[in-house]
């Protein structure tokens, strides 16, 4: 952070300072949480809780360079806690399909495939799921994932590799990847003809 930015921070109020640091990680945090908890509404809850908790203790964060890890740490804990609680809860899925149908951001088929991916991720061990989510979906580097998760770099790599293999296996069993290949080949044939 440059000297000018630091001077600007001092002039701003707490809320502005928080948002200044939060905005760059907003999308990554949202995707990470969504992939971790699968359900869109639950993801909204967790993002909101993460923001509130982080904002409450924002004064204690002395080095704003670590703000990103701080936020992802909170989000990760809340997502894991919710996943553990869900082991004893049966999710009601109808509203989930309503969300998909109402989503105007993309085709329903694509949305369903992404949902299938999140469901598959939900079946991975916690650490693997977190590593895959941070690296593959949120777009963090291996070093950043290591910072958030802790442990060694090789451990992070190993978790991502094993996580990908497990995902491929689950999605293959559920014919998600197979359907994608079929659609892709059909589209190619159509384009040629």
């Amino acid at each position: 952070m440059s000297e000018a930015e630091k001077q600007q921070e001092l002039k701003l109020g707490k809320q502005e300072q928080f948002m200044l640091l939060y905005k760059p990680i907003h999308e990554k945090l949202n995707r990470f949480v969504h992939s971790m908890v699968w359900d869109r509404e639950d993801a909204r809850d967790i993002v909101a809780d993460t923001v509130l908790k982080a904002y409450e203790s924002f004064d204690k964060v002395e080095h704003h360079e670590v703000f990103m890890y701080y936020m992802f740490g909170i989000a990760s804990r809340l997502a894991k806690r919710r996943s553990r609680r869900l082991k004893f809860w049966a999710p009601f899925e109808s509203h989930h399909h309503d969300t998909l149908m109402d989503n105007s951001t993309g085709s329903v088929a694509r949305q369903m495939e992404v949902e299938a991916l999140y469901r598959a991720m939900n079946r991975l061990p916690e650490k693997q799921r977190e590593a895959v989510s941070l690296y593959e979906i949120s777009g963090f580097s291996l070093a950043e994932v290591q910072q958030i998760q802790g442990g060694s770099l090789s451990g992070v790599k190993s978790r991502i590799t094993r996580g990908r293999e497990a995902l491929a296996e689950i999605l293959t069993k559920e014919h998600v990847l197979e359907n994608r290949m079929h659609i892709e080949s059909t589209l190619k044939k159509a384009a040629i003809s």
């Binding site: 948002m19 993002v47 923001v51 809860w89 991916l117 999140y118 990908r164």
Partner: protein
């Protein structure tokens, strides 16, 4: 190999698509949350969840409610309707009444119906058994003087009669055996002035504990029932008194002792002739409807003075 590569490619594409997903919440919403300091989810968008926790709590409520209901039912006695009352020694004693267990009916046809025995009415049995009674030797409760087990016979069912207000006037001492216990009663009219069991004097405030025995003693004094013969015939002592005077056995004596056993009649210590004995035995049997069996004695003392 090609399949593996295709799978990897498809997975990468899928992950890339996920990477381009729109955020679940926009930045303005986050700003609003921070400004308000709270997050309110959109109402009705969460669906309904039935989980294990809810099920466990629900089951707990149902089970505890059921148990509480059953406990309440038991407390109210609703569940006791099927319970057969357990017969106790007390019940047995009320059925096999020991008084005059050696006295057998002379003629069954003469036996006058008495109130139904307790054994025929379970309700009555339970109530009787619940009464507080004096401590008694169990072995003597069920045995006669000869240690024979007393069984409920027709005769015994008719022994106990409610005491009528036909008590003879004067002062009497009667002794009899009840359940192997030697009972002695001193009466002035129908008032008990002295009462002892096996030689032990019972205080007046404890008479209530021996209600049955006292009632039997009074009945014994009266001489049982022959209701069809009129009220005067109930007064056995007066009857014998009159007979003794008409037979010139007594003259003007006010105080005397009368003792009739299965073998002899003794009046004021004098053993009467076999003829007199036979007559009085017959009179007794005719009036009471009972025979004097061996070992049992009917005796009274008229005009006795308090010791």
């Amino acid at each position: 190999m090609e399949i593996h590569q295709n799978t990897n490619k498809q997975l990468n594409d899928l992950l890339t698509e996920a990477r381009h997903e729109n955020p679940v919440m926009n930045v303005k919403e986050v700003e609003k949350i921070i400004a308000e300091g709270k997050y309110t989810p959109a109402g009705g968008s969460r669906g309904f969840h039935i989980g294990m926790n809810n099920m466990i709590v629900l089951c707990g409520i149902v089970v505890s409610s059921f148990l509480a209901y059953m406990a309440l039912k038991v407390d109210n006695g609703d569940m006791a309707s099927n319970v057969v009352p357990v017969k106790t020694e007390m019940q047995s004693s009320s059925v096999t009444h020991p008084v005059l267990s050696n006295v057998q009916p002379a003629n069954d046809a003469q036996v006058i119906p008495a109130p139904a025995p307790a054994v025929e009415n379970n309700h009555q049995v339970v109530i009787d058994a619940n009464k507080i009674r004096p401590k008694q030797d169990i072995s003597t409760l069920l045995a006669s003087n000869k240690n024979l087990v007393a069984t409920p016979t027709k005769t015994e069912e008719h022994i106990i009669e409610p005491v009528a207000a036909k008590m003879p006037s004067g002062e009497y001492v009667i002794t009899f055996n009840s359940a192997g216990q030697d009972i002695k009663m001193r009466l002035v009219g129908d008032e008990i002035s002295e009462f002892s069991v096996d030689g032990n004097v019972v205080p007046a405030d404890q008479y209530g504990d021996f209600e049955d025995i006292l009632s039997e003693g009074k009945n014994y004094l009266i001489g049982n029932t022959h209701a069809d013969e009129g009220a005067s015939s109930l007064n056995l002592i007066k009857y014998f008194d009159g007979q003794l005077r008409s037979d010139k056995i007594l003259d003007k004596e006010i105080q005397y002792k009368f003792e009739l056993s299965s073998a002899q009649l003794i009046v004021n210590g004098d053993i009467q002739t076999a003829e007199i004995f036979k007559k009085y035995k017959g009179l007794y049997e005719a009036k009471t409807g009972k025979t004097i069996t061996e070992g049992s004695v009917y005796k009274f003392e008229r005009g006795a003075k308090s010791e």
